[in-house]
């Protein structure tokens, strides 16, 4: 049956089909007359787990824990398990997933597929650093287990599901002594101070990120709050309720963001934060996903959706790049629904979002203006050698990606070597000409 799948940012709709296998034998016998693609929670902003004429294979029934070495902190799980649910289980055992993306429903398969990062990026890198092995199914080769020293592993992490279906993965965990977290919310008057604080404090804190108001002009641009978080050895009784995916609930809300409301919303966020103590202690379940229970933010973009631009600039180039971004925002009078910063440390990897520098995130309502705004941002990215996050970008094309990622061709050839019959396909594969 034809099935419409919309990307999370609502800017792309594909017509393909969806299967929801529940047993292994269903996976071994998937029909191969159309390209297939594994699907996690479908929370990539772009259509990475769907495509026109493609069969999306929803992996969320494969959500079990296969083994757990509680002493050494190593767990093997099926790919469809949601990161939030797994993390809550681990908190009870004094371990956590070292890299946690922003929403609990995101699956481990999706974390691998886009080599995701968390607010702990500077300290622990991206997801690849913690994956010890992956068991993958490909119709040509059957089941294969690969480790970080193999090409298949390197292509699969950040490989957007194009090397096969990840069945399970073994992940190294991070030890914790307690289940509480201290949060220091430090006000910063503009972006320069924000980055200075983040760069100097990055070694001291387990998690570090900032919320910034990019709607302010002149010297106040980027005024905001830097969050500095550390695990505490203390603990309290926790009985976490299962997470509910509240992101796809309401489909027909009208667009509520415009120049005025976006500015008001940013102001309201700032005021709400000001009501809270600067230094606070919350439990890890709450602290792990700051966006959880704030899903309203996404609903207000309405049925037209939104676009996100996420880019890493080298620390010696960010100032010049951000100055140009600031200029473009002012020139185009672009309402910015969300501005945010993180600090990154690591090596580039294929076409995934990793490297060192300042990570800048910008959300805008989806409209004609947003496309030209993003094109202007692309020019700045290319000029300053920035790296963009493909999981968040529904419109980046092959040309942009080729220039952004020096390893593009190598990655593409690798994918073709491991999937010569192109059994795997998706909107992003077509768009990026992979």
């Amino acid at each position: 049956m034809p099935y419409l799948i919309q990307s999370f940012d609502k800017t792309t709709t594909t017509i393909g089909s969806l299967v929801e296998p529940e047993r292994y034998r269903d996976l071994w016998n998937l029909p191969l007359h159309k390209p297939i693609i594994a699907r996690g929670a479908g929370l990539s902003y772009c259509a990475a787990s769907a495509g026109n004429q493609c069969v999306s294979v929803d992996m969320r029934n494969f959500n079990r824990i296969l083994s757990f070495d509680e002493i050494n902190g190593i767990i093997t799980v099926e790919a469809g398990i949601p990161a939030g649910e797994l993390n809550n289980f681990l908190i009870g055992k004094n371990w956590v997933l070292p890299v946690l993306p922003g929403y609990p429903a995101i699956t481990i398969g999706g974390c691998i597929g886009f080599n995701v990062h968390g607010k702990s990026q500077y300290k622990v890198g991206t997801f690849i650093n913690w994956v010890k092995s992956i068991t993958l199914f490909h119709p040509d080769t059957g089941l294969q287990t690969c480790t970080p020293d193999t090409e298949l592993f390197q292509l699969t992490v950040g490989g957007m599901g194009l090397t096969g279906i990840i069945i399970s993965a073994t992940i190294a965990l991070k030890k914790i002594d307690g289940n509480l977290m201290s949060i220091q919310a430090m006000k910063v008057p503009e972006i320069q101070t924000a980055v200075e604080v983040m760069a100097t404090k990055a070694e001291e804190y387990d998690y570090i990120y900032a919320w910034n108001n990019f709607n302010l002009r002149g010297k106040h641009f980027g005024k905001g709050i830097v969050y500095l978080e550390n695990h505490l050895p203390d603990r309290k009784e926790l009985n976490p309720k299962p997470y509910i995916n509240k992101l796809n609930r309401f489909k027909k809300i009208p667009v509520l963001y415009n120049g005025l409301t976006v500015k008001t919303m940013n102001r309201v966020y700032e005021l709400m934060d000001a009501l809270q103590p600067r230094q606070r202690v919350i439990d890890l379940v709450q602290a792990s996903f700051p966006i959880y229970n704030k899903e309203l933010y996404y609903y207000f973009f309405g049925k037209k959706g939104f676009r996100e631009y996420q880019v890493i600039f080298d620390l010696d180039k960010w100032q010049a790049a951000v100055a140009e971004i600031q200029k473009i925002i002012a020139q185009m009078n672009m309402p910015i629904a969300l501005g945010s910063l993180k600090i990154f440390k690591g090596e580039p990897h294929n076409i995934s979002f990793s490297g060192s520098g300042l990570c800048v995130t910008i959300d805008v309502p989806n409209n004609k203006k947003s496309i030209s705004f993003f094109e202007a941002l692309d020019k700045i990215t290319l000029k300053y050698g920035g790296i963009i996050n493909l999981s968040k970008d529904s419109r980046a094309d092959a040309n942009l990606v080729k220039h952004c990622f020096p390893h593009y061709e190598q990655f593409k050839q690798g994918i073709h070597r491991h999937d010569p019959n192109q059994y795997f396909g998706s909107e992003i594969r077509t768009r990026l000409d992979l």
């Binding site: 929801e20 529940e22 047993r23 292994y24 079990r64 824990i65 083994s67």
Partner: protein, 247 residues
């Protein structure tokens, strides 16, 4: 006191959701169906996740007799003598079951959906008649009124309902509760790809209802509950209208 439950049909759909939900309450589980590998994976998960005892005893209802059913049930209670909850969710449909000339599927449908389950239910009653326990069976809204598709399936479910409710009456003075649910559409392999007229429930939601009601002497009830008024409508719809419905 530590509790234990037997779940027949735990390898997928409602049974699997039920196994997880029961394990979450700290109750030990014995899980059965044909797909042993799937069940073993689930058992490992439940042991790690909820620190319970989780065992697998493979079972094929299609080949069951009174004697093999008794053996199976004895094995379950020997493994977990503290068992006081039995859930039988197993069930099959057949694509051809819509008035085709050849009804070769009939014996299997009747055997799996009604006879096999009845053998197990009877054997369980012998173990549980003096305990505060529940035997919970899953019938279907297909049993509300006979219609032109899933003909034998509905017949097998209504026969199962009568077997169960008969036993309920027989054991009315005992603390044992025999419960029958007429389940509506659920988001499982059984309903995949079908055009359905009414809302589809998540098996996890249905599982929660079953667990919540396990101490009640409910007899025959609908899950989700909105099927009750719908059942009246379907039941009392005049024949000249009903015969025109295609569903």
């Amino acid at each position: 006191m530590k509790q234990a439950a037997i779940i027949i049909g735990a390898s997928s759909g409602l049974g699997r959701a039920l196994a997880e939900a029961i394990a979450r309450t700290g109750t030990d589980v014995i899980m059965s169906a044909r797909a042993e590998q799937e069940l073993q994976i689930l058992a490992t998960h439940l042991r790690i996740r909820y620190q319970i005892q989780a065992e697998v005893i493979p079972l094929d209802l299609a080949t069951l007799t009174t004697a093999t059913a008794k053996n199976y049930v004895d094995q379950c209670f020997e493994k977990m003598p503290h068992c006081s909850q039995v859930y039988i969710t197993a069930g099959i449909i057949d694509e051809l079951d819509k008035g085709t000339e050849a009804v070769d599927y009939l014996p299997k449908l009747m055997q799996v959906n009604c006879m096999g389950i009845s053998y197990v239910m009877n054997a369980c009653c012998q173990w549980l008649q003096n305990r505060s326990a529940n035997i919970t069976l899953i019938s279907s809204i297909a049993a509300i009124r006979p219609r032109g598709s899933n003909i034998a399936y509905s017949a097998s479910k209504i026969a199962l309902e009568y077997m169960a409710l008969g036993l309920r009456h027989h054991f009315a003075q005992s603390p044992l509760r025999i419960q029958v649910y007429r389940a509506g559409y659920m988001e499982t392999a059984l309903s995949t790809g079908k055009k359905l007229l009414f809302p589809v429930a998540k098996p996890e939601r249905v599982a929660r209802v079953l667990i919540k009601n396990r101490h009640k002497d409910t007899g025959l009830i609908y899950v989700p509950v909105f099927w009750l008024p719908l059942s009246w409508v379907l039941q009392y719809l005049p024949w000249f209208i009903f015969k025109k419905l295609k569903f």
